[in-house]
Structure formats: C-alpha cells, structure tokens
Symmetry: C2
DNA sequence: GTTCGTGCAAACATTTTGCAGCGTG
DNA sequence: CACGCTGCAAAATGTTTGCACGAAC
C-alpha cells in the first residue's frame, strides 16, 4: 500500500489513505471519523480538540469530545497528524504529510506560531543519531522568542 | 548583584542567590521556600511537584502542593529552575545554572532522559535568531528515540 | 500592625474510563 | 448478529483560585 501523501495533497487523497488504513486494520469507517478528518483537512496550522469540536458543531456535524479524542489518537498512530506539547493548557495537533518535517518558533508576545525548516538541523540530528546509536522516532524543536 | 551560579555550585551558593533575589524583590524569606530549594538542590536530574512533595514529607518538612507550585513558579521566574513539557501527564523541572544549557534525548522504551550538549546546535540557533530577527528566550529541543 | 505566604478546600480544565445502546460489516 | 464505536456521565489528574489564619518584617 502506498502510505505517502504528496506535498499538496487533496482531501480525497487524505481521506483515501485513512480509509485504506482503517480497512487494513479492520476498523469501522464511521461517518464521525470522516467528518473529523474533513475538519482537520480544512484547518490551517495548529488545532486543539476544542477547535474541532466547535467547528463540527457549527457545521451541524456534532460529535462528542470522546470521539474526537479517540479519532485523534488513531490518526496520530497512523502518522496522519502530529501532536505537540508546547506547554499551554492543552495539546495542539497539526496535520502532516509524511514527506516533510518542520519545527516551530513561538512568538511569546503574540502566541503566533511560525513553522520553519532547516536542513542543517536535519543533518545535525543524523549526526546525533550516529553518535548515540539511536533511532529518532519523534523530535520536538521549538524556539520561544521575542521579536527583536 | 552577581546573578550567576558557578558550574558546580554548592547549596550555600544556590541558597544565597535565592535569598538575595527575595530580598531585592521584598518577598518573604519563609522556611518553606528554603526547604523546597534544598529538596531541589538534593535532586539529581528531573523532578515534578510530586517528587518534591513526597521527598519533603518523608523528611518531616511537609509543605502543601499549593506552596510547591508557588515556589516553583517563583524559581522559574528567577531562572533558578527550568520547566519542561515533555508530554507526560505533568510538568518536569530541573535546576539550572545560568552558565550552561543542554538539550534532551528521551529513550521511549525506558523513559530514560539523557542530557546532551551540542555546540553546532548553539551556533545554528544563533543563525536562526539572525535570520528571523528574533531573540530566543527559551528553547525546547528534545529527541524521542529508540535504541539501535 | 501591615503585608505577604501558607494550606486547605473548592474550582477548573483537560483527558480518560465505564458502560448502554447503536451502527458497521 | 457480532463486534466496534459513539456519547453520556463520571472519574481521574494536574493545576489554579479564594480565603482565613498565621508568619515575616
């Protein structure tokens, strides 16, 4: 099975991948799961459980928070979203395509989140993997900054 | 006022710095605050609110969790400790001297935390500061790894 | 004596769990 | 029809808040 998403994937592609994973794992393809996936796809940047809950409610596709938590766990385990602990009161998520990775700068004064990529950092992490004989499963690189 | 701690500072040095900051800010020098500071000094590596609560209780210096939360906030604002959100159920803290900084590798299989320093990373962060015209107030760089 | 801090209990917020009933396959 | 999923309510957890009493200065 092709488990990669292209760089600017459509909802159909995202949905199809989710569908095929559910199928393979013999999990139910419920309408709630696809409504949640749609809400995620339509969200730019980071979101929380409440973001999705409110968005779905306002679109008359209300689902319980329990189900949102469940679905987000599933999606995380399938690498269709990423979970971040930036330190606020609740976890933040973002959709991801598996072909790219990026890190975060948080502007403290405004709570703005900037995403950035840095190839030197990727190389550095490879070096660290070799030095310590480790395989990095997930990295968290976040700079909390003030504007100069 | 000298606000730096030397590399292998004694408790007396740590305590004295805390004392002087409290003095300057006209905050009370309560016995609870110094008991908590002692417990932190005596802890190697990372700790949580509960770590300190239990440690103090077992030494017959019981203080309330409210006071521990208060004191940890104070110490964090004075840069005498650092707070981390690694993503577990609660925040982790560690004491710090202001002259050094390091990052973390978490071994997923064992929950072991390895501290490491990398000078290339420090340089890279300086470059990022320049590129984006930012001043980094705090950084979080953590690699979640499996052993190879 | 005034201000500040402590500690209790309650409030709060996020997340997890138990379970009855329903939907998917 | 068997099993998995949803959603409600309750529990669990970590953290914050309000307040009365006591300690620091």
């Amino acid at each position: 099975m092709n488990i990669e998403l292209s760089e600017n994937y459509s909802f159909e592609e995202y949905r199809s991948l989710f569908y095929r994973i559910l199928d393979e794992k013999k999990l139910n393809k419920t309408s709630e799961r696809f409504h949640i996936l749609r809400a995620i796809y339509d969200t730019d940047g980071h979101f929380t459980v409440n973001t999705l809950y409110n968005k779905l409610k306002s679109k008359k596709y209300q689902v319980s928070k329990t189900t949102i938590y469940n679905t987000l766990s599933l999606l995380e385990s399938f690498y269709l979203i990423e979970k971040h602990n930036f330190g606020g009161s609740c976890a933040q998520y973002e959709k991801c395509d598996t072909s790219t990775s990026h890190d975060h700068i948080i502007i403290i004064d405004t709570d703005e989140i900037i995403e950035f990529k840095n190839e030197k950092l990727n190389l550095l992490i490879k070096e660290i993997e070799d030095t310590y004989k480790l395989k990095v499963a997930r990295r968290a690189f976040t700079l909390f900054c003030h504007k100069k």
